[in-house]
Symmetry: C2
Subunit: 427 residues, 2 copies
C-alpha cells in the first residue's frame, strides 16, 4: 500500500468516496460495540467462579491469627492475605497493608490524606498555595481525575519507550518544591503497554526531590497480567531500589486483584516503607474498624499462594491474547504502511495505544461512535482531557467477544482512514 | 441495703476489708474477660452463615439492572440493595446511596470530603480557621475520634432522657457559624440506650443554623436492633421531618448491616436529600469504580427484604436479651439502693451506660482490669477521652458468653463497690 500522504488529491477523493460508502454500509447495521474500558469479559469472570464456593455455611472462617473473620478486628488484613499480596507486590509482609476492594480508592485516600494531614509531618497540601503532580502522558484517566478533583495542578511529562522521560522528571522534582507526586503505571503501562526499563526504575529510586513530601505513586495494576507466558516483561522492584538509594519512604506501590478475581469484589493493598504504612494505618484506624476479612479469606483459600495466582493468570491470558492479536492483525493489515497511524504491541495489560495523525483523534472517536462503536474519549489519556496533539486513542479489547472485536476493529480502521483522508484533503 | 453514704467510717473500713478479700479471690482466678466493645458473639455470627451459601459457582450473579455483579459498574449500588437499605433507613430509594462495608467509613469520608471540597459550594472546612462539632455526651468514641483527627473542635452537649439538650443545641448552632455538625445516635443511643423523643427529632428538623453547611450526622446504627419484640422504641424519621421543615439538606443518615449480618463484611449506606447524595456521589466517582456488588447481592438474596431482616433481628435479640438481663440483674441485686451508681435499662442497641460516683470511673475500670476484666476505657464516651465528672462507664455485654458475663458482672460490681468505698473514705 502507498502511504496516504503520497496520494494525489484525485486519488484521495476517490478513496474518500469508497470509504464513505463502506462506512454507510457498516453504519446501516445498527451495531452496538464497546472498546472503551479495561473491563474483563464474562469468560474471564467465570474463571473465578470457584471463589464463590470456598466459603460456605460450614466453613471454618478463622484466619491464621486465630481471629473469626466474620467479626470485627484485624485492621491491617489477615496474615495469609498479607502474605499473598506481599508476594504479589514483591515486598516483605511488613511492607504491606491490606485495604478494601479497590486500589483506586487507596490512591484516592492517599491523596486525600496528604491534603488534610500532610505527609510525615509536612504541611497538609490543602494549606499550600500550589500543589503539583507530574503526569506521564499518555496515562490513566482515573489517576488524572483524582488529582484534578483535589485541585492539584498536573504537569505533563512525555512517555518514552523506556518509561517517563527521566531527564525531565529529575529536573522538575529537583527544582520545584510544589511537585508532590508523580503517577506511574510501571508495567504494561496504561495505555502504552510498555514497561519501565531498569534504568528508569533506578533513576526513580535516586530522585532528589526538592519536596520532602514528594512521593512516587506506583500503580502496579498489571504486575502479573501477562499475555505471553514465555515472553513477559520484568521490572525492577522499586521499594528495594529506593531503600538501596537511601530513599525508602519515597514510594507508594498500589495493587489489587480486580483483574485477577472480580472487579469490584477483589482485595487491594498498599506496599510501602514501614514509616509510610504507619501513617496510612493511622488514617485507616479512624476510617474503619476493618476491611472485609471474609473476602480476604475467600481470596487466599481460592488462590492459595502466588503460584496459584500465576496459574490463574495464564487462563486470563488465554482469553485475552487472541483478542489483542485480532485487533493488532486488523490494524496491521488495514493500516500498515499507510502512514496514518502507529500503535503499540503490548505483552501484557489491558490496552493498545493508537496514535493517529495530529488533530484526528477526536474525529476518529466521533466517527466510530456514529457506526455504533464506543471508544475511550479522545484526550482521556491526558490531564484535563486535553491531548495537545489530538492524536492518542486508547483501545481496550478485553470486553467484546472475538467476533464483536473483528467487527469493532474494522469500524475503527475505517474511521481512521476516513478522518485521515479528510484531514489530508483539508490540509 | 443501706446507701454507702450513710455508713460510718468504721462500717466503711470493715466493708473495705471484706471487699478486698473478695477481690483478691477473684483476681486469683486469672480470668480474661472483655466487656469493652459492641462486638457480636459467635452465636450471632452463626445466624448469618447461610449468607455464605446464597452465592455459589453456579449462581446467576446478575442484578435487577441486568448488570453482572462480578464486573465493574453500578457506582451507587445495585437496585435491589438500594431498595433493602432504603427500607431499612425508612426513606425512598432515591434518597439512598450504597457504600462499602462500614458506616463509620461513610461518616469519615463525609467529614474528609467537607474538609477538602466544602459542602454544596461552601468554603472547604480545611480552609477555615475554626470548625466545631457538637457532641452529645456520653456518646460514641469513634465519632469523636474522627472529628478530633481532622482537627475539629468538639463541644459537649449533655444528653437527656429525651436526647441531646435541644435548648443548648438550638442556641449554639444559631449563634456560631463555625459549628458545622453534630454527632447523633438517635435510637438506642451509644452508650445511653435511650431513643430521641418526637419533640427532639422535630426540633432537630427545625434548627436554624448560622452555618449553611451545618449538617446533622445521624448515625442510626441500631435502627432495627431491638431487644424486646413487643416493646420497641420508635423514632420519627428525620429526613421527612427536615423536608417538612424546609431543611431537606440538613441531615446525613448512616446505616449498615454490620450488626445484622457480619461486622466487616456487611453493606452500608448514606441516606440524604438528592442534592446531598449528588455531592457524595461525585466524591465516590473519583474514589472508586464501584463497591462490592457481589456482597450487596449476597445480602439481598439472604435477607430478601426488610421483613426478612426483621425476622433475622429477632434471633439476634434472643441471644442478646438474656445477656443484657444477666448484667442488669447483677447490677440491681448488688448495687441497688447503695447510692454508688446508676445505670440505663435499654430496650435495644449494644450498651448499658453506667454512672459511678464522681471521680470513680477511671479507678473502677482500672480495678476491673486488675481482675482480668477489660471495660471500655473510662472517658471514652467523651470527646478527647475526658469525662469531666469521671463518672461514665460503657458496658458492652454482647460478646462474652452468658457464663462469662455472670462472672464479668460480678467483677464489675465488686470494682464499683471497692472504688466507691475508697472514695468515701478519702472524702
Amino acid at each position: 500500500m502507498k502511504a496516504y500522504q503520497e496520494l494525489s488529491t484525485e486519488e484521495l477523493l476517490a478513496l474518500k468516496q469508497e470509504l464513505e460508502k463502506e462506512f454507510e454500509d457498516v453504519k446501516g447495521k445498527g451495531l452496538k460495540l464497546d472498546m472503551s474500558r479495561g473491563k474483563p469479559a464474562k469468560a474471564q469472570l467465570d474463571l473465578s467462579n470457584g471463589m464463590m464456593d470456598v466459603l460456605n455455611s460450614s466453613s471454618d472462617m478463622v484466619c491464621e491469627a486465630g481471629v473469626d473473620c466474620r467479626n470485627y478486628g484485624v485492621l491491617d488484613g489477615i496474615p495469609e492475605a498479607r502474605k499473598l499480596l506481599a508476594d504479589m507486590s514483591e515486598v516483605p509482609e511488613k511492607n504491606i497493608l491490606i485495604y478494601g476492594n479497590s486500589s483506586l480508592s487507596i490512591m484516592f485516600d492517599t491523596v486525600a490524606r496528604s491534603m488534610t494531614q500532610g505527609v510525615m509531618g509536612s504541611t497538609p497540601w490543602s494549606k499550600l498555595d500550589k500543589v503539583k503532580f507530574l503526569c506521564p502522558v499518555p496515562g490513566y484517566d482515573r489517576h488524572f481525575a483524582v488529582t484534578e478533583y483535589f485541585g492539584i495542578e498536573m504537569v505533563n511529562v512525555p512517555m518514552l519507550p523506556t518509561g517517563p522521560d527521566m531527564d525531565i522528571v529529575e529536573k522538575l522534582v529537583a527544582e520545584d518544591e510544589s511537585i508532590k507526586g508523580i503517577w506511574c503505571v510501571p508495567k504494561y503501562q496504561n495505555p502504552m503497554g510498555i514497561s519501565f526499563s531498569d534504568e528508569t526504575v533506578r533513576r526513580f529510586a535516586n530522585l532528589k526531590p526538592a519536596a520532602k513530601d514528594f512521593r512516587i505513586f506506583w500503580d502496579n495494576a498489571y504486575s502479573i497480567h501477562h499475555l505471553y507466558e514465555d515472553d513477559q516483561d520484568v521490572i525492577l522492584e522499586l521499594l528495594t531500589e529506593c531503600e538501596k538509594a537511601g530513599n525508602p519512604d519515597m514510594v507508594y506501590k498500589f495493587i489489587s486483584t480486580s483483574k485477577v478475581s472480580f472487579p469490584g469484589s477483589g482485595i487491594a493493598a498498599l506496599a510501602a516503607s514501614e514509616a509510610n504504612l504507619e501513617e496510612a494505618k493511622k488514617y485507616m484506624f479512624y476510617q474503619t474498624i476493618g476491611h472485609d476479612k471474609l473476602n480476604q479469606l475467600r481470596h487466599v483459600r481460592f488462590f492459595k499462594n502466588l503460584d496459584g495466582m500465576r496459574e490463574h493468570m495464564k487462563k486470563h491470558a488465554d482469553i485475552l491474547r487472541p483478542k489483542f492479536e485480532a485487533v493488532l492483525n486488523v490494524l496491521e493489515e488495514e493500516l500498515g504502511g499507510l502512514g496514518i497511524g502507529s500503535w503499540s504491541r503490548p505483552k501484557g495489560g489491558y490496552f493498545i495505544s493508537f496514535d493517529a495523525m495530529e488533530g484526528c483523534a477526536k474525529d476518529i472517536v466521533a466517527k466510530a461512535k456514529e457506526a455504533g462503536l464506543v471508544m475511550t474519549g479522545a484526550g482521556a489519556t491526558f490531564p484535563y482531557g486535553k491531548d495537545p496533539k489530538d492524536s492518542n486513542i486508547r483501545i481496550a479489547p478485553s470486553f467484546p467477544t472475538p467476533e464483536e472485536l473483528a467487527v469493532a476493529a474494522q469500524i475503527f480502521v475505517l474511521s481512521v482512514k476516513l478522518v485521515s483522508v479528510n484531514k489530508l484533503l483539508e490540509g
